[in-house]
Structure formats: C-alpha cells, structure tokens
C-alpha cells in the first residue's frame, strides 16, 4: 500500500496514495495509524485526496484510527475527501463522527 507520512506544524500527515481503500488494503492502513499513535503522534491528519473509492472496510479502518486516537486523547482529522467518497461517509452518518476538512491545508490550519 502506498502510504507516506510527514510532520507538519506538529501534526502527522498520513497521505494515502491509493485509488481504492478497500478490504484488500484497509488492514494495513489501520496498523499504520495505530503505530503512529503508539509512536507518540498527538494529531494525525489523513489526506484522502487521492482516494477515489472507499468501501465499508476502508471506513472501518478510519473509524478504528479515530477510536484509537480518542483513547490516547490525540487528534484525528480527515482531509480532501472526493465527493463520492464523502457521500459514503454521509450514507453511514460518519460525517457526524469525523472531523472532515475540504483540504489538507484547511485541516492543518484547523478551519
């Protein structure tokens, strides 16, 4: 799975460079998020701008990240959702759970 991380303004930006986030690769994303938290990340921003497709497993991996971050009082933000991907969050009402920002820069600014 193509994942990259970088530190920006005290946040860890996790960029998912995959067209699909599905049951084939979501377990790896879940593990990477957990490792970042265990290594002390205080805020993770997941950049999903390159992801054009997400399934229930992909949503589950992000929800796992959100819950694990909350347990550690760390921040967990999503950024750059493509419209169809966002509509899957809406259909499952996960827009009420996640902090979602239009772009990575918006998430890093917190507005």
């Amino acid at each position: 799975m193509n994942l990259s991380t970088q530190k920006r303004n005290g946040s860890t930006v996790l960029s998912v460079a995959e067209a699909r986030l599905d049951a084939h690769n979501s377990a790896e994303l879940k593990d990477v998020i957990l490792k970042l938290l265990e290594d002390g990340s205080r805020q993770i921003v997941v950049d999903l701008s390159q992801v054009g497709f997400i399934d229930s497993s992909g949503l589950g991996a992000l929800l796992s990240g959100y819950k694990n971050a909350s347990l550690r009082s760390s921040g967990f933000l999503l950024a750059g959702l493509q419209p169809r991907v966002r509509s899957m969050f809406e259909l499952t009402r996960l827009t009420r759970v996640f902090e979602i920002y239009p772009t990575l820069e918006d998430a890093l600014r917190g507005d």
Binding site: R20, A23, F53, D55, S56, S57, G60, S87, T92
Partner: protein
C-alpha cells in the same frame, strides 16, 4: 450499449481480496456504458463498484476457514430496464435477515457491507445453492 441492452458477464476468481478491484471495476465500467440511463451514471458506476466489492468481501468472509482453493463466481446481467448481479460463494452461508442496521449513535468498525447493498440496490436476497450460496442484487434502470 444504446438501444436494446442485453449484456451478460460471468467471471470466476479465487476468493482473495486482491481481485476486489477487478470485480468492482467491471461494475463501474458497465455503468459508464449505459448511455440510455437517465439517472446519475457516475453515481451508478460508484455504487455498482461498491456493491460488487462488498458482495465479494462477504463471499470471501463466509467461505470455509482454511480452504484456500475456493472461488467466487460473479454473474451480471444488464437489460434495458434492470440489472441483476449474483455473487456465488462456496462457504457455509449466513442469515441475511439477521444482519442488523448499523448503530449510527455508537458506530462500530464492522457491519456496513450489507447496509450499503440494501441502501444502493432495489432488492437483495441470499439463498442456498447446490454447492454453496448466492447473493442476488437487483436494480431498476428505467
């Protein structure tokens, strides 16, 4: 595919998640070719990709544990007025009616696959076959 649409796809793949994109993308491409469809074709393309992906994950998950040589068969028929997708598994099966709606107030990591299929298709059934089970999903196109 304008005019009289009559397309059948019948494909068998190993029951492994690496084939999810192949199967999902077939549904997406079929939708994009439906030039006579009056609805939002891009949304239909995404939704068919999603329901095929979810149905195949379901088939893989309900396969008999430890048996790696099993396959999943995907059969799709597209007509002018409706499309029908059947996903055949060789596993133990499950009770579709007992799958609950997700708890939106206390969301769990799991349990949205069948929800997506129910939301995005007009009907869904799951029944035994001679050597396994079949999940059948239908959607009206006109």
């Amino acid at each position: 595919m304008g005019g009289e649409t009559d397309v059948k796809v019948d494909i068998v793949v190993p029951n492994q998640t690496r084939y999810l994109s192949l199967i999902g993308n077939i549904g997406e491409q079929i939708a994009k070719e439906l030039t006579g469809y009056q609805g939002d074709r891009d949304a239909l393309a995404y939704n068919l990709n999603l329901v095929l992906t979810e149905a195949m994950v379901n088939a893989i998950q309900h396969a008999t544990p430890g048996e790696k040589d099993k396959t999943v068969r995907v059969w799709i028929h597209v007509g002018d007025e409706a499309l029908c997708i059947r996903v055949y598994d060789q596993g133990q099966g499950f009770d579709l009616e007992s799958v609950p709606t997700p708890d939106f107030e206390d969301p769990s990591e799991h349990g949205r696959g069948i929800f997506f299929i129910r939301q995005l298709m007009d009907s869904v059934t799951y029944r035994r076959t001679e050597d396994g089970n079949v999940l059948e999903m239908r959607k009206k196109l006109a």
